[in-house]
């Protein structure tokens, strides 16, 4: 379990290894505060949505799951994508309402970032990986938390680097997007250094 946790943070980092959530990753990484907000919101949504999608996938969509109601041969696997998107969009909406009602301070801090995450590929991608690699419920919870933390770590690090880069005298045409990509590439190399580590 610990092995899966560290692997999902570093080796299987969604942003730096699988290029997931890149649009959000590059668009909101100009300031550390905003990057931190999005990162925490993503950890939140990812940790809830992956296990939830696992339950739906295992008990509703996979072949033979509907045997209890007399449909033993039905395979709703093709509905996976649509279901996941619906669940994530709904979850983000519900989470926003719950936070607004019970934790207004947290809602004030994260509120504007939550809708951004409704169609973030990192979240849908996390759920799709979970389905493809056939994790069980506990594993998918750990995987969701780990990938969320990994993505947040990556975006906060990039934001910190970009805050310093604003003062740098870079060649014209490279500033902004171009440099952000090259920095991300170098960060990706640094993260891949953790790849061989195996914990018991």
């Amino acid at each position: 379990m610990i092995d899966l946790f560290t692997r999902s943070i570093f080796e299987d980092n969604l942003a730096l290894t699988f290029f997931l959530g890149m649009c959000t990753y590059l668009a909101v990484s100009k300031r550390i505060e905003t990057a931190l907000g999005v990162g925490i919101a993503l950890i939140f949504v990812q940790t809830l949505s992956v296990p939830l999608n696992h339950l739906l996938h295992a008990h509703l969509l996979s072949p033979g799951a509907l045997a209890a109601i007399g449909l033993p041969d039905t395979d709703l696997g093709f509905m996976r994508l649509l279901t996941f998107i619906g669940v994530v969009a709904g979850l983000v909406q519900v989470l926003e309402m719950v936070l607004d009602r019970f934790l207004p301070a947290l809602h004030g801090a994260l509120g504007i970032y939550l809708p951004l995450l409704a169609i973030n590929c990192a979240i849908i991608g996390g759920s799709l990986f979970m389905a493809e690699r056939q994790y069980d419920l506990a594993e998918s919870a750990v995987f969701g938390l780990g990938t969320g933390i990994g993505w947040a770590l990556a975006i906060v690090t990039l934001a910190a680097i970009r805050e310093r880069l604003r003062y740098a005298n870079v060649p014209s045409g490279l500033e902004g997007l171009g440099l952000a990509f090259i920095v991300t590439g170098l960060m990706s190399m640094a993260f891949s250094a953790f790849a061989g580590i195996r914990l018991p």
Binding site: F19, M22, F181
Partner: protein, 219 residues
């Protein structure tokens, strides 16, 4: 130039969705380790984008604006499911290579971005051309990155050997780094630099101008 032709050709360089707006890099870079996977994903994305723009544009007057996002996502996701099923049926090995990335076309910001910004306000023919054009501009970037990575990473292009490898008696030592994730980021960064040097209008404004360097102090 004809306006229809213009809608197709503009997004290739002058208004390329990847280099101008940061649209749609999500996930797609992961398939650029070889040209064949990149080509498959590009074709799938271009077709999905074109058809989705056409359908959404056809029903644009009937979509209430409060639920327009969910309607668009449902249409796009359904088309992506169709594309995924077609790939699984006719090119099973390729769909195994692409793993989850075909499904992730649905969350690609480029598709939702174009339908939201263009197809909701324009007639079907123009919307489809705009969709196909943007898909082509995006495919171009993907294919350039994929060709560089495959050529230098494995010495092949579309599976045929271009550079003879040392292991097979040739002279080329493949760069394994090209097949890993960091190279995709760096190649795309350099590509954006190149395009922005050719088209200065796409450059981002500097937030802080550097102070003119002081004269060197004479000893």
């Amino acid at each position: 130039m004809l306006p229809a032709l213009r809608a197709l050709s503009d997004p290739l360089l002058d208004r390329n969705p990847v280099t101008v707006h940061v649209l749609g890099i999500c996930s797609a870079l992961a398939v650029t380790t070889s040209v064949s996977t990149a080509l498959t994903l590009s074709i799938a994305l271009t077709l999905v984008l074109g058809i989705a723009a056409g359908i959404i544009s056809l029903i644009r007057r009937h979509i209430p604006s409060s639920i327009r996002i969910i309607v668009q996502i449902t249409i796009i996701a359904s088309l992506v499911i169709v594309a995924d099923q077609i790939l699984q049926a006719f090119a099973y090995e390729m769909s195994q290579h692409l793993s989850v990335f075909v499904s992730l076309i649905a969350t690609n910001c480029i598709v939702l971005g174009r339908t939201e910004a263009f197809a909701l306000h324009n007639p079907p023919r123009a919307s489809m051309l705009d969709g196909l054009g943007n898909g082509a501009g995006y495919s171009l970037v993907l294919l350039i990155v994929a060709s560089i990575r495959e050529l230098f990473g494995a010495g092949t292009l579309l599976g045929t050997q271009i550079l003879p490898l040392i292991a097979e008696g040739g002279w080329y030592q493949p760069m394994r780094l090209m097949l890993l994730a960091p190279s995709a980021f760096i190649i795309l960064g350099l590509l954006i630099w190149l395009v922005r040097s050719l088209r200065p209008i796409q450059r981002e404004a500097r937030e802080f101008a550097p102070i003119a360097s002081p004269r060197p102090v004479q000893p």
